[in-house]
Amino acid sequence: MLGQLFPVDDFKLIALILGMPLLGAAVNGIWGQRLGKEAVRLMALTALAVSFLGALVSFFMLVHAVDLTGHEEVVEGVKSVVHEHTKLSWTAWDWMHTSGGDGATSVSIPVKFSIDALSGVMMLVVTGVGFLIHLYSSAYMADDKAYWRFFAYLNLFIFSMLVLILGDNLPLLFVGWEGVGLCSYLLIGFWYDKMPNAAAGKKAFLANRVGDFGLICGMFLLAHYCGALDWTGLSNGAEGLLKTGDLNQIHLWPIGGGEFRDFHVGPLPIPMHIFQPSTAFTITGATAVGLALLLGCTGKSAQLPLYIWLPDAMAGPTPVSALIHAATMVTAGIYLICRLSFIFVLSPFVMTTIACVGAATAIFAATIALVQNDIKKVLAYSTVSQLGYMVLGVGVGAFSAGFFHVLTHAFFKACLFLGAGSVIHAMHARVHDDVASQDMRNMGGLRKYMPLTYWTFFVSTLAIAGCPPLSGFFSKDEILYRAYVNQVVNPMGEPLVARLHMWTPPTALGPILYTVGLITAVLTAFYMFRLTFVTFWGDFRGWTIGRPSLLAQAELTGHGHDDEHGHSEHESDSHDTKSAHAGHDDHGGHGHDDDGELIEVHDDHGHHEDLTTPGYPPHESPWPMTVPLIILGTFAALAGFLNAGILHFAPIDHWLEPVFAGSAEHAVHLRANAERLEWPLAACGVLAFLIGSGIAYWVYVLQAGKPAKAMADGAPGLHDLLQDKWRVDELYEATIYAGTDALADTAVWLDRSVIDTLLATVTSTVVKVSGVVLRLLQTGVVHIYAGAMVVGLAGLAIFFVVPHPELAAKDTGGGNYVVEAAPGMGYSYLWDADGNGTWDAQAMSAVDHQPLHLNAGETKTVRLMVKNAFGFTKTVALPVTRPESTKSLEIGQNP
């Protein structure tokens, strides 16, 4: 029944899945404040629920549609059921069109959404996890004044993420891509009245924007080489990327394929040929597209060069970090690589770059996470490192393994973040201070007070650390195994690669990537368990924070923490700006002088709690926060079996097979003894988990944190280096920001002093000076003026008195010319047209033109005498030559 209602190629259910979050965002955004918190909560949750149900229904319809296409196929003797790459697509309207190919073909870009195997799974994750996080944040943000604005942005984010996943062509994906960028900007800077939050939002948007620059370049490269931008068009036109011939390559040096030639500035020769390389440095279209799209992915999925925005993004509310910076948005980069896998595999250089970027980011972020004290910063760096894993997996050609890790990571990382959120929520109720309520050192022993949060957090920690039965183990192990075993090779075959002399990755790359991955696994296990032990085990260290009287008492009795921070600036949300709409109109004159005056920031203690008593202990979060934790915890535990590669039970691989059919088979060869290595490598993974967690247990539980302090005091330099995140931000400050600042300053200096002075002030001074000079001529005496007039008249008179003969030859074609004399008042002429030196006629005549015939190459000088009314005469001569070339110039011939 549903089949007829929603046919495969006009699948209107997508409109419902997309429409509901958009409707929720619009309603909450515009009328949210007037509707009140309950209505907003209801609207947001129903929007997500309906969207999730729609996703579920369409997923099963997709499964049904895929089953229909199943047919037997024998591959190397192994009989297996193969399915085509089916899509449920719906075209809303025709968006726009742009030029493709070499400028002639027109690439049409419809607003077309499609659900296929890959986007089906992602859609489920986004709407499912999204709904849980909406439920969670309805309680978490309960006491925030801008409740409705938060849910408007969250719904808008879900809508943009769905557009990103379901978009059928690259520009539509780009719409979602920047839509999620905008929502993360708005959500990170949600508490905008504190400048660091707004700055973090801006930093996130700009970093994403640099990634989007890569995506835009990828788009116009694809439009040029493949002549299409939608997935099917791209896969058909993909071989366009590897066309041979000099014109189809991207010339990097000399730029655009030109050539450095010397040129002369006046006498001075400028030797440009020294820049000309012996052979032009070119890269193929595929590598260029791959690198451009990779830049986009690093921007969005926070990989090495552009990861700086993710840790700062923790300034936003925790559910935001859970949804955006753990489960959905950051995985967009990996989704794009999986979606365009058939393009990335065309260039092994790009695949290796992706793998190396992934591995490097993984280990780099893991090292930083070791020493962070803010609970959300640890999780942020762990997200960056896990994303590194996924990119590594996709980079070595294990697209389905990488994608499966996206799935499992969405569950356990969302659970971790929500757990951390509930901890912060509890601490915040006690201490009302943003920074202090997130610092692990103020926590400890929460196991006793928040059992539900603790157990779900613990399960997720086990999962992320790679404890065998849980999901993390299977997905991470699959990636590590694939990293070791896979070898990427160009699907287009050897001859083409030779002709394009493309770069092939060394065989030793696999093991290196494997070892890096393994070390990261150890580090991951260590910092995750450190986080768990410090936060949940031991006894609660947070009694005296924000309670001065207790602090004083602690000094007397000598126990408790000697940490120095006390009251710091209160979270300004409760800060009452007393800006009631005073009636008086500030247009009045008196208002002007004090308008610009700065307001001194004063602290008024909003909260009214009695600070002398220790206050009630941290309480467990209400049910809307713990239920999602439990669901996500169970998924984190059991999701592994969805794709247990090692147990050879891999439904996800099989489900994604048609999507990666084009790329995975041809481009990836397994190392010789691949099957035999599977179990030993898995064993090494488990060993890494045990080592990491064991060390953490020994340091933080048995020795209660003393070795960590000893190590910190022992190597302060290294410790500070890691604490300051390898000082990457300072590096960017010094290089990129300083560079742009310098450029901007020179631009403004150039604008103000060079151009403005040159064009504006120089001309005005010239006018001023000439004005002064000419002023002197005005003597005021009438006679001088009259005299000047007479002089002018005299000049005119001379002009009339003296005759002015002018001669012009007009070629009327075929060698004969007409020589014309300029007319004048009362002129009479005497010609010597044949150039023989004697005047043709005796008396002057009024004939003012003479015909003349010349054969090729002949020259004749025509002489003319002119007499004017005053009887003065003047003669003039004009040599008329006919050019050598036989093809006489047709002049004036009208085609």
Binding site: I30, D193, H584, L598, V748
Partner: protein
């Protein structure tokens, strides 16, 4: 997409429950409206989206205390409904569908002349009105502008195609060969529509802040509208030059009289820059008019006659330089752009809106129509270098300068330099997509920068300063204003689903695939893409310093949020941002054939004269282009001053 932030102070109406009491008369009115809506949706097929848009428009604004609900809601509803009607009526044909060309709509011949005449007559009426009655003056101005809009609407009903429509051509000065030739085609269609759409908005908003010498203001506005419309529809170089110069006069007065503190310097600089540039163009116009007369025996300044000319390389380069300089000053391109920031900072809000929205487009339109039309060889020879200037000097330089400005209006002015760098890049690349993108970006820039200037005017009217550090934390006190400003910023940055992205994307893709930019097409496309990052950089850093963070100045504590007049003024612009962003084909389809004609003529002329020295020899004449309307000329015999 529009999300307005919370209002922290105890606002006047209760946050929960309906806004303001709903008394009996409103109830009856609502019921009547609902009935009317149901009836129209049943009979008129396309009415449903219009009704929904109207209802949404009605509900959006917060009912301001003191004013009756209808006064705020009704106009917003009407605006929303009208724009929805525009979208429904102009909905592009699906891929397969053929336009029903059975009955081509009747084209009244003198419509364009009426289009120019109505604002001019309005201006004369305003002159006659008494000086001290603002109500009547405002009423007349707005009704005249509405009448012009009404006159312009039938143009949309005509399927544009390749040819020129509403052609009205007669010999104005037979002896000199000057035609009064006005016509409209796909390209000038949207610029005329933009002018006719922006003028009422700018005028309506200006009446909030302009109080001194209102009569002269209204006269200047109407004269400006008539002159600008004239520039876009004139197809005789003499007429075009006349209108091109005429637009300077009212703008000179608007900046000079109602401007800011340094207005005299700014308006003088603005006038002299543009005037000197166009003087050179006048010389070139006269030269080619004479060249055409010598070549064909009949004097004519008509565009279609002059584009038949084939002038030898040396003179053509000089003529091209004269024309191009006049248009580059107007655009403004890199070296001659310094008048724009001064003009914008000193101009009144409405002046800035019109200057940014329409007057800058005269430069780009002029270059596309006249420079590339009459001197294709010279413009292709210098196309690559000029595209380099557009990318480096316009996009990147404009963005960097914008980032360093401390004055909001100067920042938005430099952003205009960057945006128009894109448009010029699109024109120099001369592929189908880049040309369409360029024309669309002209309209987009008009709308998004018009909205930005309008919003900057809002805070200028309240705080009488434009310095960025004078503001801070406005989001807390002016939430609705912040939301609108962020939407306008996103449009100006080029966020997808807003209008900025569509134009920029088409230009950048068109540039990369262009074969007219020599071998630098690639690097210029990448340069333009980098412009996208810098755009985000300077706009967001400004938004952050103005809106976010704590409130640091006393004056900002008591700022009132956006009032109805400003909200109603900016609403059509914000709606159009999304309409073009989501349904760009409404604008792209009518202009596609015209753009392919321009691109086609341009490349055929280039193919006809290859090589660096493309043509040497006396001026030659090509046949009249088939798409040109019928020629109106003197019989050769009775040429006026026959030698």
């Amino acid at each position: 997409m529009s999300a307005s932030t919370d209002v922290d102070q105890p606002s006047s109406h209760n946050p929960s429950g309906g806004s303001g009491g709903v008394n009996a008369s409103d109830l009856i009115g609502l019921i009547f409206l609902a009935a009317l809506a149901v009836v129209t949706t049943r009979f008129v097929d396309g009415a449903l989206p219009v009704i929904l848009a109207g209802a949404a428009g009605a509900l959006v604004p917060r009912a301001e205390t003191g004013k009756s609900a209808w006064a705020t809601r009704a106009p917003m509803a009407i605006v929303a409904a009208l724009l929805a009607l525009f979208v429904v009526k102009m909905w592009p044909l699906a891929a397969g569908e053929l336009p029903d060309v059975t009955t081509p709509p009747h084209e009244p011949a003198h419509l364009l002349s009426w289009l120019l005449a109505v604002p001019f007559i309005g201006a004369c009426i305003v002159l006659v009105l008494p000086r001290s009655t603002p109500g009547i003056l405002i009423g007349t101005t707005l009704t005249t502008m509405a009448a012009t809009l009404a006159v312009a609407l039938p143009i949309l009903s005509v399927p544009m195609g390749r040819t020129y429509h509403f052609n009205h051509d007669f010999l104005w000065m037979p002896k000199l060969g000057v035609h009064y030739h006005v016509a409209i085609d796909g390209i000038s269609l949207w610029l005329v529509m933009l002018t006719v759409f922006i003028m009422p908005v700018a005028a309506y908003v200006s009446f909030g802040s302009i109080t001194t010498r209102l009569k002269d203001w209204c006269f200047a506005l109407l004269l400006l509208e008539s002159a600008m419309l004239g520039t876009f529809v004139a197809l005789d170089l003499f007429l075009f030059y006349a209108f091109f110069e005429l637009t300077l006069v009212p703008m000179y007065v608007m900046i000079g009289v109602w401007g800011g503190s340094k207005r005299i310097y700014a308006t003088m600089k603005f006038f002299l820059y543009t005037f000197l540039g166009s003087i050179l163009m006048l010389a070139a116009v006269l030269y080619i008019g004479y060249a055409y007369y010598k070549a064909s025996g009949v004097p004519s300044f008509d565009y279609f006659d002059l584009s038949r000319l084939m002038i030898d390389r040396d003179t053509q380069v000089w003529l091209f330089a004269a024309f191009a300089l006049a248009f580059f000053i107007k655009v403004p391109m890199f070296p001659v752009h310094t008048w724009l920031p001064d003009a914008h900072t000193e101009a009144p809000t409405a002046g800035s809106i019109i200057l940014a929205a329409v007057m800058l487009k005269m430069g780009t339109y002029g270059y596309l129509r006249f420079c590339m039309g009459i001197f294709p060889e010279a413009s292709s020879e210098y196309g690559a270098t000029l595209a380099g200037v557009a990318v480096l000097g316009g996009i990147l330089y404009g963005a960097l300068c914008a980032w360093r400005q401390t004055d909001v209006k100067r920042l938005v002015a430099y952003s205009s330099v960057a945006h128009l760098g894109y448009v010029m890049l699109g024109i120099f690349a001369a592929t189908q997509a880049s040309l369409e993108g360029a024309v669309l970006q002209m309209v987009n820039h008009g709308i998004s920068t018009g909205a930005l200037f309008l919003l900057v005017g809002v805070i200028y009217d309240r705080r009488h300063t434009r310095e960025i550090e004078q503001f801070g934390g406005l989001a807390k006190v002016m939430p609705v204003y912040t939301a609108l400003f962020i939407v306008a910023t996103m449009a100006s940055i080029g966020l997808p689903a807003t209008n900025g992205f569509v134009g920029e994307f088409m230009i950048i893709t068109g540039t990369f695939v262009s074969n007219k930019l020599g071998h630098v097409a690639g690097i210029q496309a990448v340069g333009a893409a980098i412009g996208v990052i810098l755009g985000a950089l300077y706009m967001l850093s400004m938004v952050q310093r103005v809106f976010f963070g704590p409130i640091t100045r006393k004056g900002n504590l008591r700022l009132k949020d956006i009032n109805n007049r400003e909200m109603l003024g900016v609403a059509p612009l914000i709606i159009m941002i999304f309409v073009i962003g989501l349904f760009p084909r409404i604008f792209l389809d009518p202009m596609r054939d015209a753009v392919s004609r321009v691109g086609g003529d341009y490349s055929t002329r280039l193919a006809a004269s290859p090589g660096p020295k493309y043509y040497v020899g006396p001026t030659k004449l090509f046949a009249r282009s088939p798409d040109a309307p019928a020629a109106v000329t003197l019989a050769p015999g009775e040429a006026p001053f026959a030698p």
